[in-house]
Symmetry: D2
Subunit: 110 residues, 4 copies
């Protein structure tokens, strides 16, 4: 698989609404859900490129090596927000992404 970093598939953005089951008793989205949001955008990026990263049809797996977020603001039930994911680097065995969550013009998490 050859991927050009400059391809139009190197980034992708999806719009999403907070679902009730993603909130917690503090009234905000549970922080673990941000990682799920990121993955939803990642898989959408690959679908957009005609690929399905997680089927593993070819015996290729994509185990996660590391994942982290800085949280700037909270998301609440029914908030609409955007998840922008970008391929930051493709190395021999790893793909590195950056991910930005925004609600309107506010940075939610990076």
């Amino acid at each position: 698989m050859t991927l050009s970093k400059s391809s139009r598939w190197s980034e992708h953005r999806i719009r999403r609404r907070v679902q009730f089951h993603e909130t917690d008793a503090a009234g905000i989205v549970h922080f673990s859900c941000f990682f799920r949001y990121m993955e939803e955008a990642e898989h959408a990026l690959w679908r957009e490129a005609g690929l399905s990263i997680a089927r593993g049809d070819a015996g290729v797996g994509f185990p996660r090596v590391a994942a982290g977020f800085d949280f700037h603001r909270a998301l609440r039930f029914e908030d609409e927000f955007d998840i922008a994911i970008r391929i930051a680097a493709i190395e021999e065995k790893t793909i590195r992404y950056t991910c930005l969550l925004t609600r309107d013009d506010e940075r939610i998490a990076t």
Copy 2:
């Protein structure tokens, strides 16, 4: 696999504490988590019997046919509660369970 309904493995009880990520913005356990609690007790029952129902090593699957709960009271963060699961019927191709969630002496869900 032969199972005797009267065996000591026909029911099982686990104690569990509500985790924060299981609560929702209403301040209570999200109702979908009750189904996960039920399954945790179900798998504990099978482990207790020396079996692992979900590995599917033997090419045997246990697809769920139906699942339902009546909710009587809410559970909140850090509540301790019990999940009692009982094999209600074993038929040719299906196993039917009943499940009871209690907190102290209160019925939470059935």
Copy 3:
């Protein structure tokens, strides 16, 4: 709040794609997620009607009394499917829904 059962808001349908984090080690959507899908459609129905059922702004809560599904077929990662929810009955203190999940023309769960 007065609701006419014959109103155009008495049912709603959303299209959804299976996310990876909703699958389990059996390769299919975990059955507890169906209840989350149902709720997503329910809340979309209320949003469509200009209401937000879960904010509880007015001190009104909608605790669930019971929930159940019959499962007919499995959903897999990236499957697209529809969730149709319909208000089956509005009684003094309760609203009863029916919910149908379909993938193309196949019934997945009811």
Copy 4:
């Protein structure tokens, strides 16, 4: 609230078993669940100290500023593992934790 870093409450370890609903179609624990495991250990640490960090009774909140994991090995259904959490630093407005997941002697995530 005054906390001594050298107190016996500055670290805590819990043992946990992988539940089926925490696995994904790759047959392993979904990476987002590691963050939930970490939080379970964190709340257990506070409970052990006689505190409940998430109730917010006192109008005090503990919003997360950042969270990250390096993943070394996968966890599978029914694996037993340990989550050790340690308070790494207490600053004016933030608490920093380190968290280590192990299965027997293997490092799973840090």
